[in-house]
Each structure stands twice: as C-alpha cells, then as structure tokens.
Assembly symmetry: C2
Homo-oligomer: 578 residues x 2
Amino acid sequence: MRVRIAISQINQIVGNYEENYKKIITSIEEAHNNKSDIIIFPELTLNGYPPEDLILKTQYLKKSKLYINKIIEYSKNKNILIAFGAVDWDVETYNSAFIVYNGQLISKYKKMFLPNYSVFDEKRYFIAGNTPTMIEFNDIKIGITICEDIWVPNGPALALAQNGANIILNLSASPFFKGKQSSKLEMLKTRASELSCWIAYCNLIGGQDEVVFDGGSAILNPYGEIMQQAPLFEETILYYDVDPYETTRANLREGKRKHYNNSVYNNIKIKSINHEVCKKEKLDQKNENLPDIYTQMYMAIKCGIKDYVKKNGFSKVVLGLSGGMDSAIVASIAVDALGKDNVFGIMMPSQYSSEGSIDDSKALAENLGIKTTIVPIKDIFDSFMEKLNKDFEGTEFNTTEENIQARIRGVINMAFSNKFGYMVLATGNKSESAVGYSTLYGDMAGGFSPIKDLYKTEVYKVAEKYNELHKSEIIPKNIFTKAPSAELRPDQKDQDSLPDYDTLDAILFRYIDREMSFDEIVEDNYDKNLVKFVIRLVDLNEYKRRQAAPGIKLTERSFGKDRRMPITNGYKVWKEGV
Amino acid sequence: MRVRIAISQINQIVGNYEENYKKIITSIEEAHNNKSDIIIFPELTLNGYPPEDLILKTQYLKKSKLYINKIIEYSKNKNILIAFGAVDWDVETYNSAFIVYNGQLISKYKKMFLPNYSVFDEKRYFIAGNTPTMIEFNDIKIGITICEDIWVPNGPALALAQNGANIILNLSASPFFKGKQSSKLEMLKTRASELSCWIAYCNLIGGQDEVVFDGGSAILNPYGEIMQQAPLFEETILYYDVDPYETTRANLREGKRKHYNNSVYNNIKIKSINHEVCKKEKLDQKNENLPDIYTQMYMAIKCGIKDYVKKNGFSKVVLGLSGGMDSAIVASIAVDALGKDNVFGIMMPSQYSSEGSIDDSKALAENLGIKTTIVPIKDIFDSFMEKLNKDFEGTEFNTTEENIQARIRGVINMAFSNKFGYMVLATGNKSESAVGYSTLYGDMAGGFSPIKDLYKTEVYKVAEKYNELHKSEIIPKNIFTKAPSAELRPDQKDQDSLPDYDTLDAILFRYIDREMSFDEIVEDNYDKNLVKFVIRLVDLNEYKRRQAAPGIKLTERSFGKDRRMPITNGYKVWKEGV
C-alpha cells in the first residue's frame, strides 16, 4: 500500500483569515482531486506567520476558532486527512497543528519547542505543548511536529519514531537566510535517517515585513534521501506516494526500534474510517536542484519586494537612481518583482554629481524600460543654505551640508510617494547601514529597504548574477567598474573614509553575523586600529538603524528584530580596547 | 536585635561595567559607614537593565564575571551582607542575584519567573532558575527574589515564607508607567501581609532607551505596612532597622506557618561569621507620599530626557517651536532636565502660520530663558515646488505639499543637530502617533521623542501640572486655550480631520492600552463609524511608527517594543465590521 501525500506550500497573509482560508480549501480541493490521502500545510497556515501582537487581541483569537471550524466543516466527505496550523486558544494560546478528517477534528498537537531567539518571539505568545502526538490512519502511524520540533535531536520526532511512527509530518514557517536552505536539508536528511522514518516537510513561502519564507518543501525517505522537493519561492503542491512500510524495512536494516512504547503518548486511532486507498501510480519525481546562493538571494529579494508592496496595498514603487550599484540592483529586481510599468526612477543630481552618474542611470532605466524624471537639487540646497546662512556663519562645509543634500532627495522621493501613491524603496546596503554611512531621513527614507541585509560585496555578486540570469547586461558594465561614491562633496569616494569593502565586510561579518569579539577579530589578522574603527562605527550608529525602513532578512543576523541592541550603550570595547 | 537594611536605588548605564561597579562600591562604602548589616541593589545592578543582545556577546559575559569578582574582592573585611544583581553565565545565562559577604560568594539565586511580555524579552536571554534560595545570617532567615518573582502569588516568595523567612529581599528593574507605582505598592503590601514577612524592595532608577525606572524602593513590615519609602527618580540609599522577629509575632497573630519545611530549598547558613550587630537607634522614618499621577509623568519625562541625552554623550538639544502645546511641554521639561542653556528652539513659520504662533513661542522661550532662532520655510518650499512643478502638473494641493513643509522643518532641525552637535527632540504625542497625524521624516524626525506615549489630553494635564509645580505661568495661557493646528494649509485645525481629542483619546485608550475589540468599544457607547475610522487609522499607520524615534514608555502599552504589530496586516476589522 502506498499513501499519497500532498504538501501545499502556500503564500499566506498575516491576519487575513478569509483569503488564507480560501487558499487552504483550494489546495484541499486540488489535492483531493489528485487522489491524495493526506495534505499538509505550513505552520500557522490560517494565521500567516508571524501574527505578532495580533495574538493579544481576543477578537482575533475568536476569529481563528471560527475559521478552524470552517475548515473542519469543509472537510466533510472529502476522505482526505488534513493537517494545518493555526493559533489555538483556550485559557492560554498555543501554536498548534489541527488534524482534520471527514468533518471531524481528529487531533490537535501543540508545538513543543518554541523559538525565542533571532527574529522569533514565540514565548511571548504561546505556551509550549508537552505531548508528542501520533495518529493511526489505516494502520499507518503518522507523527505530527511543528517547525523547531524537528530541529531538536531529542525532541518529539525521536519520541514519535520510538513509538513506531511511519511518517513524521512537519509544518514549518522557516524564514530564508543565506545558506539556510542547504543546512536545513542536511538536518532533514540526518533526522530521517537517524529515525528511519519518512519525513514530509512543508514550509511557508512569501514575504512578511522583515522576513521571507522560501518554501523548498520536501519528502525524505527513511534512509535520509530527498525523494521530492518543491521549488523555492513558488506556490505549489508537491505530491509523493509513500510506502509507509519502508520504515519497517529501514529499521530492520539498521537493527533499531524493536520495542515500541505506545502507552505514553497521545495516540489517536482512526482505523475504522472507510478510506479509499490511492492508486499505485507513482507521480513524477521532480527533485529539484537548489539554485546557487546568489540566485537564492535574488529570489528572496524579489519575493520580499513583491509581497511587501502588494500585501500592503501598493502596486508601484519609486526610487532615487544615483548611478551607483545599490539603486541599480534595487531598481532591477523591483522590475522583476512588479513589472517595468510599476517602477519609477528619479535622478536627483547635485552640484557634485558626475556626468557619468546621470548617463549610467539613464542607460539602466532604458535597459529596464522604466520611466524616470530628473529633479536637480542644487537650487533647493541653495535655498536651504541661504536661510541657514546667519546661524551657520563661520562654520565649515561638513557632513551637515552633505546630509542636507541627501535629505532633499528624501523629501523629493516622499513627495512622489505622497502625490502618486508610490511606495519609496530605500536602497541602502548592510555595509553602510552597519557603519552609518547613510543619511537618516535622506537616502534611508522609504517604505521598504530591500537590500539592507546585503553587504556591499554581495550587492555586486547579486548584480552579476542578475545579468547572468537575464543573459544580458541590463545593469551597465560601468556601474560595476566605477568606484562607489555618495557624490555629496567634490570628488568624494566611499573609500576616502572607509576601508576597502572586502576588508570592511569581512570585519562586519565577524562582528555582526558571527558575534565575534574584538580580540577574536584581531586574531583573524585584521589590524587592531581598523577593527576598533569599524566596530565603533557599528555601535555608534544603532540610533540610525532603529529608525530605518524594514527590509528583508538575507543573512543569519540582520538588523531589525533579529538584533536587539540598546542605543544607550556603555559597552564600548573600542574605547577600552578589551 | 535589629538588622539595619540599606536599599540602594541607583541609576546604572547599560553596558558600562566600570561606572556601574564604581556606583556599587560607593554605595557599599556609604552603607557600611552607616553601620548597615545588609545592602541590597536593583536587578542586574552590574549590567544595567535591559542589556538586550549584549548578552549574546561572549566577551561581554566574561566581563560580567570579572566585575562580579571585583565586588567580591571589595567586600573583604567589610562585615556587610551584599545582594546585587548580574548576568550569570556558565553554559547558559541566568538573571541572578549574588550574595556576597566578607570576600566570599555566599550564594547565588537564579531568577525563576522571567517576564517575556510587554517590553520584556527575558526568555530570549535567560534560563529560568528553579531553586528558591534562602540564607541564614545570624539566625535570621533572608530569602532572595528578583523582580517578577514577587509579583507571582505562588512563586518563590511563598516557598521562602513557608520555610520561615524573616525578610524577603527583592531586586527589581521595574519600569514606570502611569498608575504602576500605586498598584506595585498594593501588591507589595498584599504580599508582605499574606506571607507575614518583611519585604525589602529595591528598584532601579533612570532612563534606558524606551523605558524609565522610577525607584520608589520600600521596606514593608510583616503586616503589610510601608515603613519606609524612597523618593521617585532619585538616587538614594534608604535605611531601615528591621526587627526580624516581628515575623514570628505576625505569624502567631495570624496563626500561620507553624510547620516549616527547611529541607527542600537551597538554604545557606553563615552563622559562624562574627557580625557586629547594629546599634539600636532607629533611623528617621521618611515614608514619602507618592506624588500625584501627572507629577509622576512629568518626573518620568524629565528623567527620560536627561538620561537619554546624557547617557548618549550629548548635552544640548534642539527642537522646533510651533506655538502649540506639544513643543511647549517638551521644551519646558527639557529645560528642567538639561538646563536652559542646553535647549535651543527653532521657529519655522510657513506661509500658513499665524502671527500668534510666533508670539506664543517667543513668550514661552522668554519664560524658559532659552535661545531661539527663526528660519522661515516659505522660500525653501517654493524652491521645492518649482522643481516638482513639471511632474506635479495638474495635481491639487494636498497632503503632499503639507508633508513637504513638515519635512523642510525636519531637515532644518537635523541641520542644527549635525552642525552643532545638538540632539533633536521630536514633539509628537501618542494621539497623533496612533492615527498617523504626523509626517514621517518631518515632525517625526529626531533622536528622541519624549512625549510619544502621552495622549493629547494628557499633554494638557501635564502642562497644567508643570505650571503648578513651577508656581508660574511658564507655558503661556494662550497655548492652553487655542485650538490645536499643524498650520500646514490655510486655517487648518486638528479637529477638521479628527474627532475632538477627548473622544479620540478615549477610543484610542480602549483600542491600544486596553486591547479592546471593535465590538467592545462600540458597546462602550462610541459611534460605530467613528470607531471604525479611528482604528483604521491606527492600523494603517503602523509603518510610520516603525520608523519613529524612541521615546519614553508612560502608559501600560506604549508604541515600540511594547506593541509588536505587523505592518503587513490583513486583519482589518474596520473593513469587515466584525
């Protein structure tokens, strides 16, 4: 006997029960038509992830119950076992999986391991469950887990396997970051083979504020082989016909699990239900190869832009085109995410802008096919300085005047946003956000900041990948080769005041992503004074980052709710040198 | 025998071990000189509260150990029992109290109840302890608790009392909000009397980013009476001579606790130490009356401004003076916090500003004795419009043009900040932040936003209190009586587009502070359509608040890390009407 499992990786909207419900029943309908025995959905399918403080609203919780019941109602006479996630609420709230069959709530599993690190705040909202849960479905034992549960070696998955589980379902909402997809697959392979158990892993896709979920759902056999994998960042239903007794063979081969202990757990039997066993035909295996890391990052940014813009009710975006690489890559990916007619570029040359900057922006806009306008800022800058003249008498041109220019651009971007309903995309990268090489309310102004978690060196790599994927030099060569510059004073170059980006990013990666200490970074052969210089800037610019637009988490440790540093902070390693 | 307890409520700086250590030993020195037997400090005394993600840095944790040992070292031959708080680290990290005597670490208690709601993220950092801890000190049983532990009726305090505690120490870092001080005292009274036990409560003072700690440390007797209370928002050492055997008498009177169970807990005896019993003299009781609620809010704002500005290395602030009440109260309290020479006001009239606005601002500035300048914005506005003319052709004057004016003011404030090293104070209140009646990068621009958690109606009450406390009409009468206006278009009044502030604030309070549902607010006799209108604005303006400057938590539910709402949010009660 084979059991057909359908894994529906869908893109949900936090808080929108009606739309989320519709997507769930549409998937059930399709899986049912395709003779599936089981359909599995992502974590908190009904609510979207993460619902954050919506969970503190009683009316919101009541509505969760209402829609859970609508799904149960819908499941009548469908003859398909449905596993979906939703916020569960009695006196406390739980992150639960609901197992529904033929109009009945068969079982409920409460997530046992609640992540409360990185971007996660699950202990703010949920009480951890304490009961591994298994159901018997036509003599097949199916264990239920939610996201983090399966990452833990001695967690409920082990308990389920020890109790004879043939298949373990995992409902996930696991956000993307660079390299996570492959480490996750390694973990799943390890788990499946060490437990000698099938694993059906379903991950959410789509963007939600600071995170994107990448999907990549998969079926693994009890030997730890990926039998089927869904594409990244695409809504899809993955089908696979599982032979549950492969688990027994795998166990015999490994000499494991001879003595099951069924008594301790919440074991629910639904043998008596008359179940239509699926046809023996095996669906096409389409075990996809993972795209390379920079393609993944490109896909994540595209998905992040599209979902943030559209889910917030916008269709068009506006951004400043400086002639540099940051605005070039943001504009280019935005075109892929939203369409060329929905991206508007503004060139805002200052008196210090080079002719080349305008030409490069024009060439890029032409390649992308987007509309642009030019709003020179010199006269506006002069009118500011005229009014400030008296108060600023006797002072030198410094970052004040640079910032005024950057802020004029911010005001202009926002004026187009307000007048025409475009969302402003900020174009800052992680390197400049880290060291504060950016102007608050200036180039930092915007509704969304797509590459804020991409180091400058990675910006170039994603840009190269962009041209490669498009088989065309859409981003002009000149933008790759010229030296980065803010063009806010004569002949200014980023490298006048910063170390070269290779070195800068290497230090930043160690300090931020790896949380390495001053000593450890110096031990890695970086100049002591340079390390001091860099981490001092990182620490001092926390106040700017706190007011930055949200952007997409692309690395293991992004700015935003992933890194909660105090602004008022007397821990000054760069001062004390210890 | 009486035991002299010293309670040191001090103002610590997150991360600054050296300064924090110095304050601790200075307090020990003073308490020792005053013949105290015991000194108690606030929660995480050595680290400041909350250290947030600094706790993820190994080097930071190592340094915590270093300074813990310095305090132990310092305690040699001092003959005073010291209870201080610090981050404790072996494999995991704990929020611990260290009990130190005469050069020895006598005991360590790990906080058992870790708050992970509101502004608190303690489960992100700490593992909860599981052992109530008591020490015997000259036959007196002293139980140790940390903050949240004492709020829980069935927590460690109960266990300690059941095991015969004479005195329970509580090391706290409990942030201020409106009304908390009195509810906290009620809780402490209840706890002391129900446990028939002395309570020595020590609370932190000072501002740290979004929160201020108000002190108000106290000693309560076993009948639940406050015997001594420290002032709010002031560094002080409170002394009281406790008769530990009053506990026995109280118990006998209540007929409670006849059978102690000493075996279960971590009971450490230090009887053998030769201890100089304190003199019998009783220190002056100075049980202060709590100031009224608006005075408390005034004190909280003053403390918040002072500490945010100074702890971040600034001394001077700049703000726009509009002639309205918001900027008036911020300027006035800033003068009390920083001194009149450290507050600089900018008047930035637009073509729509009334003559009265300038006059009122001038009168206020004169009363405060602060320096000001005038930078009219009309010409700058005209230069923007000239450049935008072509692209904006055929469009009407709308919020775009209003926002441009507000943003010009933001640029000017920031220019003074950049040029002269002033910190910009933003002057928005909670009502306008809630409904988005403010301009991102305009009036919202600033390093700190002191009254962002004060509803407009409360702004007036704090202002009245301000004049009353100063026994002078420092804030001119005219500012109280005129109708609030942003003055960004001809004859504009706030109430043209918003309901009157009494009604608005009442709805906002229910929706935000009380987390009431749409239905519940309507049941409270507010117009259905008006409630929809208001909560729609609150929901839609989450994106603005996300980029707002930090400000002081003044109510039970403030914007910031206290209220973590998704920006991308499909939960639109105002749309569906359910």
